[in-house]
Symmetry: none
Subunit: 218 residues, 2 copies
């Protein structure tokens, strides 16, 4: 369930999560959230701290499901964890990659026992979501946060063509004002760090986008 009073953010999250295969309910304020949560018992709630009626913390207390908070950047962290309420948080403005990563982490944690692999693999390139580690051909690679998010997006969409606009929308914060040139820069960084050896995995499709895949045999 996604709870935010701003329709644009609510829709953005809902659409992106649905695309990733989640079933999504939404609510625009605290009372609606509590109500919907009672009726539908969601597996997890993405909850804006700042709501028009009820305080986000208040809502969290009344909801049985795990909670991922959305909060302004300047909110002090202790407030979130200190209250013993909420399982993690993401600061606004966020990137979709980040929110999804946190969601999966919380689900993994709260569901306990079942510890899914959380490891992506394409050819001899491996990425561990939890440990935030990457190997190419068994050799560890150090990536900056953005590089990691970008590679993660590529790997979880391996074989699918991604336009620069799509990449920008998923990997960068939703309020990013710049142009798609950054994507080129970061692809260049990634290529240098993880795509130096054969076979090349990140391919450019001119005027279309990029795709991460093993080159077709032949």
């Amino acid at each position: 369930m996604v709870v935010d009073d701003e329709p644009s953010i609510r829709d953005l999250l809902a659409a992106s999560l649905r695309f990733s295969g989640f079933e999504v309910l939404t609510a625009a304020d605290g009372y609606e959230a509590v109500e919907v949560a009672e009726r539908a018992s969601p597996d997890l709630v993405v909850l804006d701290v700042m709501l028009p009626d009820l305080d986000g913390f208040e809502v969290a207390k009344r909801i049985a499901a795990p909670v991922l908070f959305l909060t302004a950047r300047d909110a002090t962290e202790d407030k979130i964890f200190g209250l013993g309420v909420g399982d993690d948080y993401v600061t606004k403005p966020f990137s979709l990659e980040e929110v999804q990563a946190r969601i999966r982490a919380v689900l993994r944690r709260t569901r306990g026992e079942s510890a899914p692999a959380s490891r992506l693999r394409v050819a001899d390139l491996e990425l561990d979501e939890e440990a935030r580690e990457v190997w190419r051909g068994g050799r560890p690679v150090r990536l900056s946060p953005t590089e990691f998010k970008l590679l993660h997006y590529f790997m979880s969409n391996a074989g699918r063509v991604l336009s620069k606009a799509q990449i920008l929308d998923h990997v960068w914060n939703y309020d990013f004002g710049g142009d798609a040139g950054v994507v080129e820069s970061y692809v260049s960084y990634l290529r240098r760090k993880v795509d130096a050896g054969e076979p090349r995995l990140i391919h450019t499709l001119r005027s279309v986008g990029y795709v991460l895949r093993e080159p077709p045999a032949g």
Copy 2:
């Protein structure tokens, strides 16, 4: 549904989509669009961002259907995706091939589960729309964007005779000023890249046009 205030573009799109088997409604401005959409609940809306009354984004919010935006090339592309509104966009001037490709992609995506093949095949020539890959006799072929569009047009009209004018109208942008000589050039490119081996698939019908098909056995 097609929404654009310019009659020429509206009619161009409507005619081309009808020919491809879609059922098409049109609207000339924002309010009409919202109204028609409510009455008819279209499966998808092709929507010009620049409308005389309502802003295209505003219209999109009030419409339940998936939206494919039409936008000027120089418009800041960033804001299209990012607002969580609209599912894809095409810049003006566009080619009909491109619009139809995007439409199919959006429908494929929003309808989810049903993942149609999206793969065309004629003899030993194969084309994957999503991956943008082409094989001839199992061997991958690299095509430029225009070559790919042209081949796609040929393959989705296999067996049908296409005049150079038709090809120009579908594969090239609607504002293309040049003459049909380009088509000859690109057919030549295609022949070299994908039609070198037997059997020849692209046939010239002198002073009529071209046709892609397997020669009748014998």
